[in-house]
């Protein structure tokens, strides 16, 4: 149990939290803030798309849907009903590394959430009928968000090239074939293997008293059995595998370019410098790529960069949405030249300070929302096993020098470490 505090360069309020383990391995984090009469429960299971076996893509996400379909004491649709009737909101998300479930309710309803979460952590009921129903729902989700959406296949196409035969070769939505062949037995085993207290973090945040919350958590979770699962071995990420440059024809009006550079995992020390590099490159209208490509050369309507980090390895993504008459080859060359310039000449002190100011601003804004704080706490525990980073990560960013940023560019932003996808209108699609 620890209550952390720091206060070096900044006088921002600290996030004071408590954390401890139950004897079954459930990690509990409590963040108390009695400003508003609301409380949130956020559970992270350390399982995501990267834990799927091949031929089972999309399963972690499909399973997330099943978690709302009922357990020993809660019928189909009741999970949602109980929470909404209590005046709350809820949802769940699945990414490459984790699946989270979160709900916020008026603070007098905390026990309800703990009852619901403990029931589905221990006695989920997966019936064939509900499984088939949610399979169809997820297939519609895939159609709506990816198959029927312009440029909707870009991340699937990116990751299957960038991470070929490595961890993260597919996206959480998976393939239609695998969704069609998903079966109930696999679901039961998946549940047994990953949905246990020793693979989860429970964060309670908002309006509660420590003593009450600790007692209730003990009441509902203490007797759940751990699974003791040994996780799959993850394939290592291999850098600099040679440039891939492919064209994809889609139901779109305009060309677009997506560039992905491979970067190390979330906990790697280089991530701080890579984050600042991403911002200098393409975060905001004064960033290098936006300024050059969109403002000066007028060869794209919009352009930018962002970081997609995962536990084992991630991507620095640069995107540009071209005009009708833009030559995508020129566009790519111009973006590459901007990147090369950072490797050759570095960035200015002013650019560095600008990026740090933006990080600081985002950090302060995060502190407005108890649910966002809960997410950060769960994130730092799950991947770093160091929850206190919520208070110290900002200082790690402040230590980064312009030279660190240049070195990150030299190390990771090289052509042989990237995949380029150019999206073009399907012939005959120019209405």
């Amino acid at each position: 149990m620890s209550v952390l505090s720091y206060g070096q360069n900044n006088n921002f309020a600290q996030i004071d939290f408590k954390e401890y383990d139950l004897k079954n391995g459930l990690h509990v984090i409590l963040y108390k803030d009695n400003t508003n009469p609301i409380v949130s429960v956020n559970i992270w299971y350390h399982v995501g798309a990267k834990d799927e076996d091949s031929g089972r893509t999309g399963f972690a996400h499909l399973f997330e849907h099943m978690m709302f379909q009922g357990s020993a004491n809660i019928g189909k649709t009741e999970h949602f009903n109980y929470i909404q009737k209590a005046g709350g909101t809820l949802n769940g998300t699945t990414n490459q590394d984790r699946t989270n479930y979160f709900a916020s309710v008026p603070s007098n309803q905390l026990e309800l959430l703990l009852w619901l979460e403990s029931d589905r952590m221990s006695t989920l009921q997966v019936t064939q009928e509900n499984f088939d129903n949610q399979r169809e729902v997820v297939k519609e989700e895939k159609r709506q968000r990816y198959d029927n959406a312009p440029y909707g296949s870009r991340w699937e196409e990116m990751m299957k090239r960038l991470f070929r035969e490595q961890t993260y070769e597919w996206t959480p939505i998976g393939s239609m074939d695998d969704l069609n062949s998903a079966d109930l037995d696999y679901a039961k085993n998946f549940y047994k293997k990953y949905y246990s207290p020793d693979n989860a973090v429970l964060v309670v945040s908002g309006d509660f008293e420590y003593e009450t919350a600790e007692k209730l958590i003990k009441k509902y979770f203490d007797d759940l059995k751990p699974a003791g699962t040994v996780k799959n071995k993850y394939e290592e990420i291999i850098f600099n595998q040679g440039e891939i440059n492919d064209t994809i024809y889609d139901n779109v009006q305009l060309p677009a370019v997506y560039i992905g550079y491979k970067i190390p995992g979330t906990t790697h020390n280089d991530i701080y410098a890579i984050t600042l590099l991403t911002m200098v490159l393409g975060d905001g209208k004064s960033s290098r790529i936006y300024n050059d490509i969109v403002y000066n050369k007028k060869s794209a309507r919009s352009a930018g960069s962002f970081l997609w980090d995962n536990e084992i390895g991630g991507m620095l993504i640069v995107t540009a949405s071209a005009f009708k008459n833009t030559d995508p080859v020129n566009l790519l060359n111009d973006i590459t030249a901007n990147i090369q310039k950072i490797s050759d000449e570095g960035i200015t002190e002013k650019e560095l300070e600008k990026a740090k100011n933006s990080i600081e601003h985002d950090y302060v804004n995060m502190m407005q929302s108890t649910l966002r704080i809960a997410d950060e706490l769960a994130n730092y525990y799950t991947f770093f096993k160091n929850t206190g980073l919520i208070n110290t990560a900002l200082n790690e960013y402040m230590k980064i020098t312009a030279e660190d940023v240049r070195n990150a560019a030299k190390k990771y932003l090289v052509n042989e470490n990237r995949v380029v996808l150019t999206y073009l209108p399907k012939p005959g699609n120019n209405k």
């Binding site: 309020a13 508003n36 009469p37 020993a72 004491n73 949602f80 009903n81 909404q84 009737k85 005046g87 709350g88 909101t89 008026p106 007098n108 309803q109 026990e111 309800l112 009852w115 221990s122 006695t123 989920l124 129903n133 949610q134 169809e136 729902v137 297939k139 519609e140 159609r143 709506q144 968000r145 198959d147 029927n148 312009p150 039961k188 549940y191 047994k192 246990s196 509902y220 007797d223 759940l224 059995k225 139901n251 305009l254 209208k285 004064s286 309507r301 300070e353 600008k354 740090k356 100011n357 990080i359 600081e360 601003h361 985002d362 302060v364 502190m367 407005q368 929302s369 108890t370 209405k431």
Partner: protein
Amino acid sequence: MINNITAQEKELDRTKPPKAGPPKDVKFPEYFDTTLPNGINVLVIENNKIPAVSVRLVFKDAGSFNDGNKFGLASLTAELLTKGTKSMKATEIAEEIDFLGGSLNAGSDWDGSYISLSVLKKHLNKGIDILSDVVQNPVFENDELSRFKEQRLSAILQGKDDAGNLSDKRFNKIVFGDLPYGNPPEGTEESIKNITAADLQDFYRNYYTSSNLIIAFVGDITVDEALKFTEDKFSKLPEIGMNKTNSFKYSDPESYKNVYIVNKPGAVQSNLRIGHIGIARNNPDYIAVTIMNTILGGYFGSRINYILREKHGFTYGARSYFNPHLYSGDFSVDTDVRNEVTDTAISLILEELKKITAENVTDEELETVKNYMSGVFPLQLETANAVATRVINLKLYNLPKDYYNKYISSITSLTKDDILNSAKKYINPEKIYIVVSGDAGVISEKLKKIRGLADL
């Protein structure tokens, strides 16, 4: 199926939900509200939780409703504010704001235009200097305008890839015809090409006036500081612009007899908009309508979502909306379903529209939604900016001053009869427009059985 609970836990009865403790009172936060002699309405929503401040300027009437026949004018005017002033170039404005780590955003909707600054407290003076400059001294330079127009034209073109966007446009046109809400607020390819810097200047002069201005100071700032900033930094605007002629007369176009298909060859889903005219934001029945709509299709637990998603697995989600503006609004059921079930989904939705106007909702449905709406109210007030949005809406939509103080009691006092009456009054299943954006070659035969097809 799988039971991970050990035997020792007999005393805990997991079969019943725990009882809730006593609910805490929810009070809408206090705020400062005054109108200065020059007409500026100053609001201060003070909150010291984080050392940050937002300054949000809203110009009433400077919205797309007043575009006239230059669709996109309000939007372009707002966007161009941050693209150059008498003393700063677009790139300098971007650089200065980004350097503060903050944000400066401008935009518009149907009812007004908005410019918001968000910075840490320590950068507030510098941030307000920039905000003050872009609001009071924009130059609407030709170069910047043509650059932005190219971007907008390209965005409009790209919008044609998006099924939901295609449905929205067609639906609004069919429901509102040539009235302002029928036109696209981002403009059309033709209208954007014809908008000039002089148009922007005129629009700015007419609507960016102190009597139209609401300034909300939000976060770590005192009333005294806010009033001083207002006086020092925002006193250069003219008080009065154009006389307002904001009349709105709706006559139902008799075009609901057909199904409208927006053809999107190769689409693997159909995007549906099923509905008609809705209500203005200050309609006295707004809360009753919201409860009724929530039961119908306004949240996950609603009838329409249950039937289309949880029962049939036709969609990832289905919702209905009353989308209110200052003078009117629209009502529609929105969803995406796979091609094969397009007609069935439409029939199911039409049945639900009939049912909500014909029968009382159940006690259980009403109680759940009342609890839901009152319960999420404090969630919606978690941040100072969320509170500010509500206070601004009171002003923008001329709602009663005590609207939010009475919000929860207004919800709890409504009866099943009130809900049925609001459905009968504001949903007319006999005059429902159906717009489908999807692959006409695949879906049109089946849709013909529902109604005749309008010309593509």
